[in-house]
Symmetry: none
Subunit: 122 residues, 10 copies
């Protein structure tokens, strides 16, 4: 199996770089339409779009490391609500943003289409 594939979330892969303009409030948005994890109840894969929006303070998340962190959920089993909050928590801990919103928009399973939205203000 490829070295890029993991069986558990790898927050240790996340890297930051120093916010190049900490004196100014500005908004960063990263949209990831190819997120996938596994349903803990059925073992079948889930697919969704993660939209992360935040106002940085001292650190910004490095984009490639964010991609690798998202990829590390590929074979991980967890409910939608847990996955979304776990990622939000990790990014809040890492970035200490002024504001952060994470919305996970999941493709239909069993005819149901779900959206989980977490909002955080420092």
């Amino acid at each position: 199996m490829s070295e890029f594939l993991y069986d558990r979330p790898r927050p240790d892969l996340l890297e930051t770089f120093e916010n190049p303009y900490p004196a100014r409030d500005y908004e960063i948005t990263h949209v990831a339409p190819e997120f996938t994890s596994v349903c803990p109840k059925t073992g079948h894969p889930d697919f969704g779009t993660l939209t992360l929006r935040y106002l940085p303070t001292e650190q910004c998340v490095e984009l490639k490391s964010l991609k690798l962190y998202y990829q590390s959920f590929r074979n991980h089993g967890a409910f939608y609500e847990a996955v979304t909050n776990q990622i939000a928590d990790e990014l809040i801990r890492l970035l200490k943003p002024k504001e952060l919103e994470l919305e996970a928009n999941w493709t239909p399973r069993g005819g149901l289409h779900s959206v989980i939205r977490v909002t955080h203000t420092a």
Copy 2:
């Protein structure tokens, strides 16, 4: 007849799991475009889309159990207004959400298209 099909609503099928992040307010939406029940007056099937949106407190509804609960209305006869309120009631009782909204959007019958919307705040 299949074991998955019922002739009466089965709220006992609903399962919850512990809200993994009870300390945080976040929003959960489940859209079910394949809901069907039976018109109590004509005996003909009705079809609609149920959109559930809520802010959890201690429990979240498990998605597959929600699907099975919705499926249990398949051969049940009730007016649109009763079905929508009955489901809202059951979910409010089960989840004790901070807020909950349930909108049922029914396909046309006799040339009329109906929408029922229930809103609840704790």
Copy 3:
């Protein structure tokens, strides 16, 4: 001529059923895109979409009876303004709703397209 066709409006056809959840405020919408009556001046048929939205108190209007009531205008001659207000009046008298809105959106006649909207608050 069919027993379903009438030459005058038939409010006596309207039926109600007991609001199954009177303790809760919720919104009911019925959209009827196939309403037709007759222009009293030219004798030509008019066509329109009736959108009824209301908050019930003790009674809800039964859907099939609403359809039959609407159908009873088929050969009735009245101006747009009169038809829309007459139907709103009848439903307000019958349902005693907290709020009710009726919008009639008429297809073009002589190149003019008309909309009549009636709003009622208890």
Copy 4:
């Protein structure tokens, strides 16, 4: 009841005028999106769009008379297939066209949407 409304089809209302350019082949199309008749089985009204296309020989159908003829089906009960063919027959008899096509596109009834298409070549 208005003098414009009838309880049976009135082909006698159809009028023609002399084709002003019989020496030339040309195509005439009339689209009528507000046709309505009655279902002979349920007594409920049916709604549809009639699209007539023909190549005239010596006569053309006068537009207002076509509208009145269509309106005369308003309270007439007949199956989709019969209505469409009956109108096509009447127009073929009246106009003796080189070619004629009549398509009736009906709005949904009981969840089914139907289209009947008749084609005639002299």
Copy 5:
């Protein structure tokens, strides 16, 4: 359980009426977007749109009876391929059409969306 719901297909419900214009070839199309049956493997409901197109000979299928026949599959378990062919067979036997096409377009199950198309020429 309502008298309109069945646990097996009911071809005996199908009715025909005499083709009012047997001397002429014309095309009849009925689109049914609310077909539902049951997956024989999982017991879960399937949903789809059936599009029937045919050229009649001596008989036409009556629309309400077609609706009831389609409804009778509501609690019946069968693969997509079998359901589509079974309905096509029944209608071919009943109508002896010059041509008939039946396309079943199923909503996604497990992330897969399927279409089955049967074509028949006399």
Copy 6:
């Protein structure tokens, strides 16, 4: 009446200019979405779009004169079929084109929408 308004079609207003490239076949299209004339039966105005397409031989129609010619139908009463053929005839006589097509697409009158298409080949 203003000098710009006419009570009869004025083909004498049409002007041509010498085809600057008679040695070559090329195609000219003029679309006029603001044509208006009068219904000879009701006296009400009709509106339509005229699309003229032709291959010139020795003469081309001058655009402003074409506009004035079209404007001269403003208070003229004639059936759709007659207007369309009359204009086609006038332009064929004037231009002697290799090919010419004129399509008149009329806005709805009494709920009917009509299209007349004339095609000519030298």
Copy 7:
């Protein structure tokens, strides 16, 4: 790791059922918009939509087993061209179809968007 996830393609998971109507030619299409495998060069996941269309002979592919077979590529590394042909080959061997077409439409990688299409006739 879930029992549903594999590190190599599992054609042994494919199941067939007997074609219920072998005497008739008909067309089966399955669209899978959530296919994912791994790039053998970078180790990063690839995502695509597989569209399978075939005319069955004696066997049809069972839908759930097709889903599981597709899922078994989740952690498998192979070029687009190889994956698409390998799946086509397996299905041709299994189903011996009269005709089969498989199109894989891949989401962009490094700014490039690719489509591979395989066509087979018996």
Copy 8:
């Protein structure tokens, strides 16, 4: 007047470069949506889109020179038909293409919208 503005078409501005692949047939298209000239009758500006498509032989037209040539019509008065043919002629003389098509699509003037299309084959 600015050195960039001309009062007459300047074919002398056109430059070519040697076709880099004369051994192969390939197609070149240049779309110029900002062409403008002057109506010789009213003095008002005309605007249009010129679409040039050709198969080169030994020379290709240099893009910037084509732009300047087009710009040189800015204050030139000529009918649509003349402008389009004049440009086509100039390019045919210059490029000696295997095939060339020039379509001029003019914005509405006095309510009329015109298209002139010239096709040339060597």
Copy 9:
């Protein structure tokens, strides 16, 4: 290599002209859909659309100089967040605008699509 290509940002290329109407507040927007720079981590090019909106005080940015300034990032390596803020800073320093907003909308990299938005008020 062309004199127009640079390996570092060239703010010295930016030119301004005097605001011709400093007494009035008005809004200026420049949209540049062809911005490109280089990812400092992977060395691969990035592409995006820069939307600049500002209210001028005494100076406006000259459009061609803005284009050249943007082009000077072509071979420059920097994170999205740094590029966007650096350009905003330079323009704020140069123009001293009442308000300025710069939004950079980047095309997908590794399946992630990013937007950086900087807002400044004097």
Copy 10:
């Protein structure tokens, strides 16, 4: 400057892999919407979308190497016609395809939008 950026086209970067299914004809398409090179006349950057479609024989082009090859034109100056043919030539030489088509669709320059299309058959 990054090691990924070049000042001349680098066909030596192209890699192939053995066609995994040489016995079968199938179609491969790669769409690259982020191609950029430099205008040899003005020194300004050009942007375009390259669409490559081919039927492989013994070799397929490896996707990442194709991306790097395309990137190597980033600072290279050449006319549209030359760039498109040069890339087509290189790929024809490398892949010896049964058929190959390359279309380059360039964004507007000086108000002109160009498309170059090369087609090759073995």
